[in-house]
Structures are given as structure tokens and as C-alpha cells.
Symmetry: D2
Subunit: 388 residues, 4 copies
């Protein structure tokens, strides 16, 4: 119970994880989207659900929006709605993959008119950022080609630079551009930003306020993700995380569900590189709750990040450094594993209680009646989803 | 021009590749389905498009149906429609992944009522087979779980056996049950039939008319697929192929597009194992034309299979055997590669012409006016797609 | 401290893990084998080291031998030596990959004389089994080809059956043949027993005392190994485990080091399928300690298996079944994860002490002076290694 | 026969592929190195064998050396020996993976004395470059760790920069430093230069004469290698290729043997990016001939590169660009595939003859008697190998 020192606890207290609005909408595979009772019909209801996650965990102070899925008449209203519920609006995510014009690319398209349309969409996103007070414009470039020969990869890369530069110029003040990379999907032969190297080269060519977004599910099989975390922190270019987990492709499962030890290693490297609670590195979730309940799925996710952060903070770094310097492989590994295997959950539960939070946020949510209420109330209308 | 012997040509003449009706409907990723002008609105129009592929290639004599997507009022009418257009109805594919009841399984579901519902669906498929004269009931079991602990994998395997046995008992005459395996998707942690071994063990427990379906896109990275082809032929359990190609996951690209040499190796092993033009081994396509035109996509596909079959038939098997026995690695490989690198396209073109077929089926289709006609005619109604 | 029930503790008490004699010799990659001070020069010294692992853990009652690496003049002497040190001789492993004659295969070779030589080697192994009292003959078939066309995969499969059948016939009494599969290496194009399906088909064709060996490092990226464990137990054909872990290929790292949660899932499936402490399922290690100390490496390994077995035994299976039946994904997963995240180490330590064992076997070994003794004593001679 | 235009032929005539001296020595896996009759005993014999490859192909004008494997008393003698045989000495490869001191790293080692030793080794390599007239110092950094926690990845990255900078400073004139990356092996958890992004970031921090080496076998499963080729050419940092092929890990098979179409795509991207016959981009082989004959293996390899270059030069780039701009996926892919499927071998054979070269270099070598001569002559001594 006393395993978490005051230092560790104050670090944990400062932790905040941004929730994606789309996690509260319906999602699925190309084969089927299963609908869930109580699913929000609009951004206001998504924010309400996100606030519920924060209410029982104090871990989720902000919500990322996705444009156009989260377009509303008044962003002032949405902002006030969020603030009334104790959360704020966060990163703005653009969308270049659902317009018929973007079938063969958007920011990379061979046709300047379509590129301009995609650029204008990002300008609109920046206008929304101005209204919401969001700092980050996150671009996941779902662009590429399906067949060898279909596209001129090099020319697309050059056009991408040009488009990004135009968007970057429009940013003001503290606003940032964060460029996500992804190994594959929806494109099946080449993806225009498939790896951290490409994202890094592109943002480095833009300027200081352009950063890389690392989605933990967007890598080739076997990739050492914590190494990339280390490298991007070292290069000063890690802008944000999209946390989730996977066994195969971009499965978007609950963070920590597939390989908890990998999450531990990633967070340890964040800590070691100065990225924890750093203003420069945003912690976000990017998940799909295809078959499990969405609000509890998000609660489980932020708790997983918190618990793993606590474990990673427990690593005895002096002992680790000594073993590393001595070339004592087993001793160094043992120091590392000891922290991972320590069960921090009881200590976290009592710490939560001491702060007026529920010891067991999952149980607290289940007991709150919120789920029953939204299932009863949210009848009629169109449930939100990726295509909404 | 003279490289294809009469023996090879008569083998090629006997080749038939079954087209999937769903290849003519719209498809896409979980992110977006792009619609295409001229897309069929019903099974009759799908059959018409499939017949067009056969008209210019003489390679696609049959069409597989998917139930419920291809349910019609009268299967007699559909059958006559097909026959009028020179093709026949082929394999019946069942669907256990799009009903809300199947969220946690169908033939494997913990609830006997839902299993019975899924079994009844297969009984309905068998009734349709009786009406269409189809031989094969193909079952792709899109069942599994997303999170460790979610499901009892062992109990599901036992229930799967029980369900399959019940369905198998209903088959009559020459009818067969063909069980497809898939590495992952739509389930992201465990899949109930994830590999050839499981499919083999399940069908071996049913009886002689239960076989394995090998989809070339359904394997782990790096899997030697031709080895599996060899093994299933050796065990007498290769029932059918679903041809397509992939770079990453189950990309469903045009067969031969991603790795032509792999296709060559697969077809060589089919020939070597007696599976070419064997009544026991059905050649089918299972592809998605997300961004390319669908009918030409299917024409390209059957031509790819034909061209690669011609190359594989060119392997000098006596020379190959001699080099293999001598342990001459480079000589054996050279015999193999020589066939692969031989350009059979001119010889095939002139052979096609000698049979009254277009030398260039792609060009013939483009010149036929069919595409323009369907784009003009098929206005209104709901385009077919996976969810239709 | 009281988290491990008497039932769990008595189950753990019965657990035994077989050590591989070769883990105590030098090993490395194709680039370099780093020698370690104190490495055994002969099988007697390997057994002594293995006995040391058992002395501090009571978890490693037997030692697997590899022929010809562990050939000795008198197996009676070796057996008595082992018994004097409190361990016994276990599985006999054959070797068909280090004789110049086997460059293109052994049991699968095109030349019957070479096949007979390989069969005779296995007859010799069976003679040794008779002398050592070993039950299992384990065959890892390091055979295959490097280039497409090099080999006739089908004919090799048939010859493999014939060779195995000849060997199987020679077994007597309770002796078993256990056939290991491996995704790739040392062959780089095709491997003759590359997957569980092939191993299963081959041993099923032999008879009841032929079983499959599952090496946890021998699968394609992303393979759900616990599913295979489940299936082989269901089919009654899981003969033994080779435990180790990996990030990439067949890395042969310490079991549990790369993905502890995967080890948890595997052992849970063993328990669920009746394979824990079953006479039919041997638990063995197959590891390389390339850069870490070997004896502590083995101690760490058996402790990892023990600790993970304790966690897996903690799963509340009634609660799990209830959540699974209710389709409550998050609840089922939570039951599962709760066991995994429970820190069993303090309870195990005090239980060890209660049995007269060191609470911390790693520390006890370090304090024992054994390592210093062998480093001082074992000077001169040729250190054992894979090529020895 | 007339398919290769004068332009294409003159481009092909300028092509040169550097051979690795180590391809002529024995190699194998961690399990076994099979020796081959006629294997060179020293660098002079390796050069002689390499010259034989060039004699029958005119494609292999230079030979890369590996230090210390190719250390000789007089590099002047070696250089003259090479020139007498019509070839020259090329890239110098350093070795930081076979000294006992380098067990835990060399240029990245925690101990400054060991780092200095590794730096001094590179200084020696540069001295050799001065003597041989080599331009490139190629560094494959076989450094990393096997277990999580074993090493401080970030500190190693910083030390790597420092070591490389020290080495880079020592270069003079046109000399370059080329840094190779590799996904994994011999390290099994983390590798210090695991991907192109890391190599790029490291060499970009050094200066203009530091470049990236792309080994085609050093990527994660599924990686789009031609994309990386494109990107590195775009960034001006592609220094050299190590050609080989693979099905699984770093199999080091003959280039083009595993996936000929991938080789085509890679070379097409080299051409498109201006890297063909560019002084800045060295074409080298890095292969192992574990079971096939070595000199013919190298002849086959350079022919594969030549043949695939010819195919890639055949791509109708105007037609390709038109189809790409029109968004005609199938037409663009068809232009691409048409070139790949064109059989350039007869035209190349007659072109070779027109230049006084053998039409069939493999047959010419076999008929030359060279192999029989070296097998008879090279008796006694120690055959060269990786450990030599």
C-alpha cells in the first residue's frame, strides 16, 4: 500500500489523457458495425460521455474532436458544454479519407484543385481550433495506393510537403501541426506516411511547431516501438501519442490489452526521455469499442495507462543504471521486471479514495446509473459513427 | 509463339475460374466505401457482369453466390438467367457475421438458440443449393473474440464441431461442405478457424465430403502458402481456392498483383499435386475492387491465373527432378525460374484468337461499350455492396 | 501473502520443468559465439549445472540430452551421476542438421542411404533411451530448402512419413516420438515441418505414442499460440513444450522475457485443457544464453514458469465463465487480467521458505559460490557448445 | 530481340555491381556451416573468384573488403592483384561484432575505452581505404541488447553519434561514411540502428559525405522497401544498396530469388529517382551461399540485377504518367506489369555476345574449368569464412 511515494503520486496526479470523441460512437470492421444502445447522436452527447470518464477517474480532462464528424453550429456552445462538465476541447483531427474526391489522395492528389480542397478543409480545422482553443491540428494522412504503378510515390511526397507547408503557415500562436504515420490501411500497397522516418522528415522540413504523432498500433509486426519513442524524444519531435493496442493490424483495441509489457516499456521510455507530463507530448487514446461497452472501455483504458505509468515510475533507475554499466544482463532485466510485476492497483485505489475519487472507477460507473439513463434517453435520431 | 504445346493448350482450355458475385458490388475499408457508376443493384445484374468476364475470356464459367446478399424470389429464374448468358451458378457462401445476434459468434455461440439460428441459415443455403444445382457450401467462419479471456476457445471449438456436423448431415448427393480458414479479422484476438490445421482437423472429423478452402490472403506474414497447398492435396482435403493477393492483411487485391512469383509457386504445386482441373479442387476468386473498375478487375484476375498456369505448365519437370536429385540447387532453381520468366502472353493471345476469342480481353471489354451501357442504365435503386 | 490457496500450492509443488543440457553450453548467432567462464566441458558438468538449478528451486527434476552432443561412454554412469545430484535424465533429442551428409535433408533426403543413416541415428537415440530410461524421443527436423524449385516438397513429405514410421516402430513400452515444428531456420524457403498442422498430420499417421512438440518461439509473427495449445490438447496430441521467448525470429530468449502476458495465456490454456502436471505434456525449456550467465538464466526461466503458473491458477474460472456466458467482454477480460496483474512473488517466496528452499533462488545461487567455483575449476579442455 | 533500345543498352553497359569478398567464403546458420570444395583460403583467392564473375558478365568491376577478415600484409599487392584480374577494390566494411570486448556494444559501449577501441578499428579501416583507394567506409552496427532493461537505448544513441562523428572527421577527400540499418540480429530485443529513420537521423547529423546503406533483407515483414528507396533518394541520402533476398529474416539469399517483382519495383524507383549509375548510389551484393555453389551464385545474382534493370528500363513512363494522372488504376498497373513480364533474356544474351561476352554466363563459367581447377588446387590451409 505504501509502495507509491509522494513523488510518484504527484506525478500521477498531473497526468491527463485525452479521449477521442469517436470512441463513443459506433465503430466496426468493413464487415459489420454493431450498434450499441445509448450511443451518442451528436458531439454534445459524446462530450457528456467523455466527461463521465473523467468524473470517475480524474484522468481525462480533454476530448479530441474529429472534423467533419464533430462539426456543430456553435463551437462556443460546445466549449461551454464541455467546461460545464469539467472537461475541455482538445486536438482537432482532420479527415481526408471520406470524400469521393479523395479516392486517389487529398493533400497528395495529382490534381491541384483537389489538393486545394483538402488544404481548405485544414484551414477550416484551424478556424475551429481558434474557436475551441485547441492547440494541435492532427493529420492522419489516409492516403496511398493499392497497386504497384498506380501512383508516383515521389511526386506525391513532394506535393505532400507543399500542402503541409501551406497548412503550417496558417497556424498561429502556440498552434501545432502533428503528423501521424501508419504502416498500412486504408491503402494496401503504398501509404504516403508509412513510418516515423517519413513523418519526421516531413515535419522537420516544416518547422519547430510541426511534430510527429505516434499511434501505437501503426507499425510493422515486431517493431520495437519504445525505440521509436526514445528516438523521437531525442530528436525533439514527439508531439503526441495515439494509444491503443493490437495483435495483428490496426486493431484499435484497449491500450494495454494485447501486450501490457510493451505498454510498460513505452511509458518507461517516455519517462526516461522527459516526455511524461511534458507540455510537448500529448497522451491521447485512439480506440474502437466494436463489441464492448464504450464508456467503460474508455475508463478501462485510462486506468491501464495510469497503472502502467505507476509501474514504470517504480523502476529503480539507479540500480538499473548500475547493472547496465556492469554489463549484468540478468540484474538489469530483473530491476526492470520487478517494477512491471509490482501490483500497484491496491495503492492506486486507496490513493484515489484519498482524493475523493472512487477506489474502483469501473464499479463506480456501473453503479452510477449513467449507462441505464443514456440507454433509456437516447432513443431516436442517428447514432454517431465513423461515417456520421 | 510456339512455346505452348498442344498438351498445355488443352489443359488451359479446360480451366475454369469461378467469380464471386460480390466482386461486382461496392466494397471498401472500414473507413470508406467508394461507389462506382454502373454497379449492379441485384443478383441478376451481378450475373450479367460476370457473364461479360466469361464472354471475353472463356475462363469464368460460373458465379458464386453469397446468402443473404444474393437472395432472390426465384432461384430458377436466376439459374435460367445465368444459363442464358452462358454461365452457371456455383458455390453458395453463407454469412454468419452480419446479424446482430452474431456479435459474439454464430455456429460457436454459447447460446444454443443462436447456434440453431446459424444452423438454420445453413439449411436455407442448402435448400438454395438444391435449387441452383450448386455443389459446394462454403463456410467462412468470421467468428472469434477481441480480448483475452472474452471467450472459451476450447468450448467454442467443440460447439463448432457440433454445428458443422449438423449441417454436414443435411447435405445430399454430391454436395460438399468447404471450410475456410483465416488468420484474423473481423476478430482481433482469437479466430475460431485461424489456420489450415484447424480447418483440416474440423473437416476430417466430419467426413469425406468436407474439405478445406484455402484463401491465399488469409495467412500470417511469411507463410509458405504453396507448402500448405501441397500438404492439403497430399491429405486429400483441398476443396477450393479463394484467389486474391495482399501486401499486409486480407487486402483482397487482384490475384497475382502483389507477388506474381508466389502465384506461380502455388499453381505449380497444384499441378504437381494433381489439383489442376481436378473436380475436387475449385478455383475461385475472392477479391475487392475498392478503387479500380470491377469488371476489368475480374478480367485481369482470371487472365493472371491463366497466364501463371501457362508458365507453371512450362516447368521442365524432368529436368527439375534431375537437378533436385543431384542436389544442384542453382540448376533446379534455374529450371523453375526459366518457366516463370518466360513471356507466355503473345502465345496466349494468338491461341485466344484461334478460338474465336479476343486476343486482348481487356481491350475487347473496353471497346465493347458494356461499361458505358451499364453506367448509363443502372441509375436509381440501391447499388449492391457487402452490406446489401 | 495468503493469496495462494493450498490447492494452488500443491499443484505448484507437483510442477517440474525439464532443462536442456545445451543451455549450459556456449551458444550464439551465426556472427559470433561468446564464450563464458565456467562453461561445462562435458555432459557430466552440464548435469551438475542443471542440478544446481534444481537445488535452489526444486523445479527442475530432469535434464534433456542432445545426441551426439551429449554422447558418453557409459550412460549408466551419467544416469547415476544425475541421480546422485538429485535429478534424472529426460528427453533424448536427435540431431539431423550437423552432418555433411545432411546438407539437403536427412529423414527426407532423396537418397535412401542418407535417410537410412538418419534413421540409424534415431535407432541409436532409442538405444540411449533404453539406457537412460528416457521416455521421449524428440525430433526437431531442421530440414528444408533455401530456393524455390530446389526440392520436391511433396516427395519429401512422403519420405518423412516413411522414415518416421520406421523409427516409431522401433520404440518400445512407454516410449514416445515427439515431433517439433518450426516456422523457418535453418532452411530459408521451405521447412519440412513448418507448422502444427503438418506435425499433427504426420504424428496422427504414426499412432498413439506419437505427439507434437510446441516450441513457443517457432511461429509466424502474430500467431495466437495459446489457440494452438488449446487445439492440440483438444486433439490429444500435445506431447511437450519447448519454452522460450522471442521478439523476432527463433530468438531463444528466457521464457516470459519478451511477452509475459503471452506466457500467462499459454499456461492458462494448458490448465484449462488438463495439460498441467499431466504425464502426457512435458514442460521443457529450449533456450540460449548468448550473453547472460547460463545457470542464473535457467533459474530465472523456471521461476518465470512457476510464477506465471501461479498467476494462471488464480483466474477465477467461475466468474470468468459467467462473464463469458453473459457476453460481458470487459468483465471477462477483467477477471483474466486481475489474475495476471496479481503479484504472486511474495507468497511464492514465503512458500519456498516453508519448504526449506531459498526464498530468492537467484540470490541463493549468487551467494552459493558455485559460479566462482566452476569458473576457477573449469580451465582447459574444450567448452561445450552446439557444435561440440 | 529488338526490345532493348540503344539507350537502354548503353545504360545497362554502364552498370556495375560490387561483389562482397565474404560471399566466396563459407557461411551458414548458427546451426552449421557446410564447407565447399575450392573455397578461398585468403583475400587473394577471393579476389580471383570475384574476377571470374566479372570475366563472364562484365557486371562486377569491384570487390568489397571486410576488415579484419580481409586483412593482408600489403594492400598494394592486393590492389595490383585485383587490377591484374580486371577488377578493383571497393567499399571497406568494418566489424564490431566479433571481438570479445564488443559483447555489449562497440561504438555504443558504455565504456569509453571500448568505444575508443572500436573507433580505432575504423581509423584502421580508413587507413586501408587510403591504401586501396576505396571511397566508402561501410558500417553495419551489429549492436543492441537482448533483454528489456539491459541497456540505456537513449544513451547508446548519443554515444553512437559521438563515435560516428569522430570517425567521420577522420575521412578525407571524397571518402564517405555509409551507415547500414537492420531490423534485428544479432541483437534480439533492441538494435541501435534498426530502421532507415535512425540511420538517416544519424548520418544527417554528421554531414554531406555520410549516407545511408539500404540492405534489402533488413526490414520488418511487409515493409514497402521501394518507398524507402524513393524517400532516401528524395532526401539525398541513399549511399548504397546491399542486395539480397529473403522470405523470413535476414536470409541473405540470392537477390531476386524470393520476390522478383519486389526487385523490379525497387530498381524502378532507383531509376525514377536518378539513382541508377549515379556515382552517389553504390550497387553491392551482400549474400550468403550456404548450400549453393558460390561463384555461380554470384554470377546468378549480378545477372538477376541486370535482367531486372532491363525490365525496369522498359517501363513506358509516359504512358504510366498518363494513366496515373487519369486515375486509371488498372491501366497504370498494366503499364508497370507489362515491363515486368517482358522476357528480356534473349535480347540480353545476344547483346552480350555482340560485346564479346558469353551469351550464357552461367554456362560459360561451368564450361571454363575454373571450378574444377580451384577444387583441385585449394587443398590444405584454412578455408575463409565469417569467423576467419
Amino acid at each position: 500500500m505504501t509502495i507509491l511515494s509522494p513523488d510518484i503520486l504527484s506525478t500521477l496526479e498531473a497526468q491527463g489523457i485525452e479521449l477521442p470523441s469517436w470512441a463513443f460512437g459506433n465503430s466496426g470492421t468493413r464487415f459489420k458495425v454493431f450498434a450499441t444502445p445509448g450511443t451518442p447522436r451528436d458531439p454534445f452527447e459524446k462530450i457528456a460521455d467523455a466527461a463521465e470518464v473523467n468524473r470517475v477517474t480524474a484522468l481525462a480532462p480533454s476530448v479530441a474532436l474529429h472534423i467533419p464528424w464533430d462539426k456543430v453550429g456553435s463551437y462556443d456552445d460546445l466549449r461551454r458544454h464541455a467546461e460545464d462538465l469539467g472537461v475541455r476541447l482538445g486536438t482537432i483531427n482532420s479527415n481526408t479519407f471520406q470524400d469521393d474526391d479523395y479516392k486517389f489522395g487529398a493533400l497528395t492528389h495529382v490534381d491541384p484543385k483537389i489538393r486545394q480542397k483538402a488544404i481548405d478543409h485544414h484551414f477550416e480545422c484551424i478556424d475551429i481550433m481558434d474557436a475551441t482553443g485547441s492547440r494541435d491540428l492532427k493529420i492522419w494522412l489516409a492516403e496511398g495506393s493499392n497497386y504497384p504503378g498506380q501512383a508516383d510515390m515521389r511526386a506525391r511526397q513532394d506535393r505532400l510537403h507543399e500542402s503541409l507547408a501551406t497548412i503550417y503557415e496558417r497556424l498561429s500562436g502556440e498552434q501545432r501541426l502533428v503528423l501521424e504515420y501508419k504502416f498500412f490501411e486504408p491503402a494496401f500497397y503504398h501509404t504516403d506516411v508509412p513510418d516515423w522516418g517519413t513523418s519526421y522528415a516531413q515535419v522537420a522540413a516544416l518547422g519547430e511547431r510541426a511534430m510527429v504523432c505516434l499511434d501505437t498500433g501503426h507499425h510493422a509486426p515486431g517493431t520495437n516501438i519504445e525505440f521509436i519513442v526514445m528516438q523521437l524524444l531525442r530528436l525533439g519531435k514527439l508531439g503526441s501519442f495515439d494509444f491503443n493496442s493490437r495483435f495483428y493490424a490496426d486493431d484499435d483495441l484497449i491500450v494495454g490489452a494485447a501486450d501490457p509489457f510493451q505498454l510498460f516499456r513505452i511509458i518507461f521510455e517516455v519517462i526516461r526521455g522527459g516526455g511524461l507530463n511534458s507540455p510537448d507530448v500529448a497522451f491521447m487514446l485512439d480506440q474502437c469499442h466494436n463489441i464492448e461497452k464504450k464508456i467503460p472501455g474508455q475508463i478501462r483504458s485510462v486506468l491501464n495507462v495510469q497503472e502502467m505509468t505507476a509501474r514504470a515510475l517504480l523502476v529503480d533507475r539507479a540500480a538499473l543504471a548500475a547493472a547496465q554499466e556492469a554489463g549484468d544482463v540478468l540484474a538489469a532485466n530483473a530491476v526492470f521486471m520487478d517494477a512491471f510485476y509490482t501490483d500497484v492497483r491496491p495503492a492506486l485505489a486507496s490513493w484515489r479514495e484519498s482524493r475523493g475519487l472512487p477506489a474502483d472507477p469501473m464499479a463506480a460507473y456501473a453503479a452510477s446509473g449513467y449507462q441505464e439513463r443514456i440507454e433509456a434517453d437516447r432513443v431516436g435520431g442517428v447514432q454517431a459513427g465513423w461515417g456520421a
